[in-house]
Symmetry: C2
Subunit: 423 residues, 2 copies
Amino acid sequence: MSEQKLEIAAGNGLINRRHLLGLGLTGMATAVANSALAADAGLTLKIPDWSRQPGPGASGYGSRSSFSEHIQRASGAPNPLYPGGGASRSPLHQLQGTITPNSLHFERHHSGIPNIDPSQHKLVINGLVRQPLLFNYEDLLKYPMVSKIYFLECSGNSGSLLAANAANGSAQSLHGLVSCAEWTGIPLSTLLDEAGVEPSAQWINAVGADAASMGRSIPLNRAMDDVLLALYQNGEPVRPEQGYPMRLFVPGCEGNISVKWLTQIKLTEGPSQFRDETSKYTDTQLDRSSLQFTYPMGIKSVITSPSGQMALNRQGLYQLTGIAWSGRGSIRRVEVSADGGRSWADAMIESHQSEKALARFRIPWQWSGGNAILQSRATDNLGNVQPTRASLLAERGNISTYHFHGIQSWAVNTAGEVTNVYA
Amino acid sequence: MSEQKLEIAAGNGLINRRHLLGLGLTGMATAVANSALAADAGLTLKIPDWSRQPGPGASGYGSRSSFSEHIQRASGAPNPLYPGGGASRSPLHQLQGTITPNSLHFERHHSGIPNIDPSQHKLVINGLVRQPLLFNYEDLLKYPMVSKIYFLECSGNSGSLLAANAANGSAQSLHGLVSCAEWTGIPLSTLLDEAGVEPSAQWINAVGADAASMGRSIPLNRAMDDVLLALYQNGEPVRPEQGYPMRLFVPGCEGNISVKWLTQIKLTEGPSQFRDETSKYTDTQLDRSSLQFTYPMGIKSVITSPSGQMALNRQGLYQLTGIAWSGRGSIRRVEVSADGGRSWADAMIESHQSEKALARFRIPWQWSGGNAILQSRATDNLGNVQPTRASLLAERGNISTYHFHGIQSWAVNTAGEVTNVYA
């Protein structure tokens, strides 16, 4: 298909998404003679060594190719004043689809990763219940479970976009505190029902077995909704850095309330005001008051390719792609702009779509070698629309670094360099 | 909830699936005093070592808990006459949900796993095309892709159920050649369109870069449908044992036609009759004729817990769970029997559901300590119903070991031992 036939969908080179699949990307492949076979000797293609002799056979637990080992989560240098604390970010610019492999799911720890023996781990449900209960891991495996694909996002994700000057960052460094997996677990309501919730109970207070005793308070009505005691992540037991042997999982909400290494749920009349929900995870407003217990993550999207610190090495067609999610519902629409928000085109959503899960969007874009500002704007099934950075700042100020979900702007200059900008 | 209130749904203890979530599993948890906290000293629960000091911090590419390392794929001893050949099976009885983690996806190799440098790997499309083309890995990463959750099943999966005597097997050893992942790749039609398919072309012939030069022929109309050149598996690059850096992926069809380490697609008028599609993967009939190119996998399900080689250690309620899939559509219904097929109850489907993907089903079952035969029977959205083993044998005989999709029977004896039986 020649480029002249492409139907323009928005300014600065955005192509109608219907062209996505049938698009001939002229010039990407090399024309060869029909006799060219990788298995033909004597031609320009010689038989590679790996085709000449058998390789190793099957294994018990596989690992990735050594040629993929550059794909890594990124974390800052360890802080000796905060042992085990910190975060690592998913390499969003190197991933595809919507599922994050378990080894690359983002991390956030308050006191490092405890190495828990599941046979010695206990979960207590107590407080305002008819009968306080103690659960063992092996017994919990026998309970009814559900499996759902959900994103998880740290409340601090993208917080650096509130700084006065745009950081020289990548999709990973700016937005990599979001991941997505199929979580399998026991509906928390099943366990609370078994203990018997007293009428006076209004909150649950969840505490982890890590050295930080990380604790968070959650309203009972939220806890009785779609919250899970998660035991499996993408089919296998939850990874140590995700809370092995068990974590709370609160779909759509800031990651820290999905308390990892969960060891206690205490039912109370009010919230506990744990250290980690007062010193952190409060949203300070323009008038210096603080909002607490602001759980759901806002409607959001980010273009992962092209994205910050990449470089376009030729003019022509690109497959622009990214991820979108909403803490309150499912993604209904993602629009993309190549001219800093003056005009928008609908992207194609080309993945599994469900409530509180990542969606993958794509749209073809023809870069003519000029300046461009790439943006994406998500809308969920409830009609929530991702705001601009400017409107979010006007509404909230920039004192709190939590819950930033404004539109990301990637500038492309005439050299093809992609950078984070405010636009 | 007392057991007396449970609504019976079918014979021998199957409970209405609506009880699945609110079910109080009396006696599983231990009643304790309200002061029992994992973090309280001086009580019966002492503070575990892992809560006393910070653990290690974030990492680049995570690994699982040492306490999960018993969860392994299983393979037979290496055969010196078939170097690198063979298979490994997913531990279905130890997994939950529907996504198989990449390290536990089943394997089937004809000559082991080539260690391919993607920068040196080539994909050729030639034969009956207007312009033969050569593709590099880096260029292919720029093509439009789609992401879909699909199962993959070896045509030989469950073949041992055709033997005269029921093997003493597990869900893993009998049925573990099926897995499920989110696959992201380029629609093959995009690449074939770019090369330009000649009107005389009716088949594609796909060849891998392994030492076996594993090759399969696929009708062109199938290849132009939902077939992918898969580059990513659950978000990250396809694993070496799954075809790194690229494989064909033919949704719903026997795994071997999803040729791994793909290096050539040649368009022809007829099939190539590759060694591996004549010596294997033909279905020999009762009259000794052979069916070739029998790609789609039949409607199927298997109960993964309780399952073969497990033992029930107490009378009472169990969460019966398993997986179901269809090579032609999506799972609409799964029924379960505890009396060898005399009566059936509808199970709950509690997972992501989509075309040609695994679905997870569950139903509560009350074991009273007597004999039972547990079976599951799946129905897809096209009305295909999983057949009994007996009807499959009557129709096809047992000369071919491929494409077995009959109903599995797990016998439970009065000692609680679970075994594979024919019933």
